[in-house]
Symmetry: C2
Subunit: 209 residues, 2 copies
DNA sequence: CACTAATTTAAACGCTTGTTTAACCCACGA
DNA sequence: TCGTGGGTTAAACAAGCGTTTAAATTAGTG
């Protein structure tokens, strides 16, 4: 890997370590020493540990939501009656391609997303909803259009079930994959797993009341 | 609440605080002061913080798996061709009734279960699998029998999708419920949500390839 | 080159953490 | 009644934490 500037090196190290161990379990000293920078650099460039965590999320969520937004616009312009499959396909392909293109691991982002929802008493969840809520609402709106006649409360619960299935299983991807490999000798790639997840999530959303 | 012995008071306090904040974010001093016992009591009775965490899980997972085991036996004896719905119904009713009967909150256990899978680098997940794996395998086996013709890898991925949807959404129940209440004014109980989750999970498992 | 602002550095700050120690209390059996 | 052992207690321990300081260094500009 090339040697980026201090800010970039800190973000690179923090991203990996946070995903591996969680936020509170990762100290600034561990981050700065693996990044090869001085301990005080975090507070100098980011202000605090909390703001560093937010910066890590912004660095991958901002391009992700931008890609998703333009992908949704692209799909909507060429087909004004989007199906559930189309929308999930957009979501997953953006998650896979958009994030992996600079050599970073898409699984890592799923893991971070999972942590954001469970750790730090929901601080990160609120930050993400506040910062990226508009794209989320746009996606949810399109998905709801593709499920005519569904009552709103049922729809939103199913949306959360779907998000849960996605975030939980993909953020534990390595652990699950290891178990299946040991039991069945079958290696699973992330692409394969998303190809399994897409129809399952569609069934979850469209299933009978 | 009555005043149980020191061990019980520590477990009661730890259970609530861990579920609220996570394991590393909860200090032994917070636990012992809310329990009204001396700080050193944790190390005296449990040995270490790690062993306290395990004890918290054992106290609710042991009766849970026992209830689930006997419920599965009861169902199997009166109907030897169990459907997916039946099995999920067993799982959810045991989670709901079996745990709530001593006045404790079932949501709390879902939250702890979710934390066990995401925090502490999988230590707890391994502990749970090791300690309660047999009941898990029994349930998985029955579920697979109810899904004839499914290939094993697809089945197990879908099982994890289902677990993800369940654990993730129920462990964030309060947060999700608050959002839906604000947006639609519709209060949701845990029973209601499980009644929504059951058919969605069935669709997820039985859906087309 | 000289001056200034930005960055890096080593060291220390105050605080919290999990754990251990040793004195102490008190019930119970000889 | 004495003594023994399980339980409780206050106090201290060493280690780690995020953050701050002030000096040293580097980079950029007139």
């Amino acid at each position: 890997m090339s040697q980026p500037d201090t800010v970039g090196r800190i973000l690179d190290a923090a991203e990996v370590l946070f995903a591996e161990r969680g936020f509170t379990e990762t100290s600034l000293r561990t981050i700065t020493s693996t990044a090869g920078v001085n301990l005080a650099a975090v507070n100098y460039h980011f202000g605090s540990k909390k703001e560093l965590i937010q910066a890590v999320f912004e660095r991958f969520l901002t391009p992700f939501t931008e890609h998703l937004d333009s992908e949704l616009s692209r799909r909507a312009s060429q087909d004004d009656d989007l199906q559930v499959d189309d929308l999930l396909q957009s979501l997953y392909s953006v998650a896979l391609a958009g994030l992996a293109k600079d050599g970073r691991d898409p699984k890592r982002f799923m893991r971070l997303l999972g942590l954001a929802y469970t750790q730090s008493q929901g601080h990160m969840r609120r930050f993400i909803v506040l910062r990226y809520g508009s794209t989320y609402r746009r996606f949810a709106g399109l998905l709801r259009q593709a499920l005519p006649g569904i009552d709103p409360v049922t729809f939103y619960w199913r949306l959360y079930f779907m998000l849960g299935a996605t975030i939980f299983s993909l953020s534990s991807f390595d652990a699950i994959e290891a178990i299946l490999r040991e039991d069945f000798g079958a290696e699973s790639s992330l692409e394969e797993t998303l190809a399994r997840l897409a129809p399952a999530a569609t069934a979850l959303l469209t299933g009978p009341k």
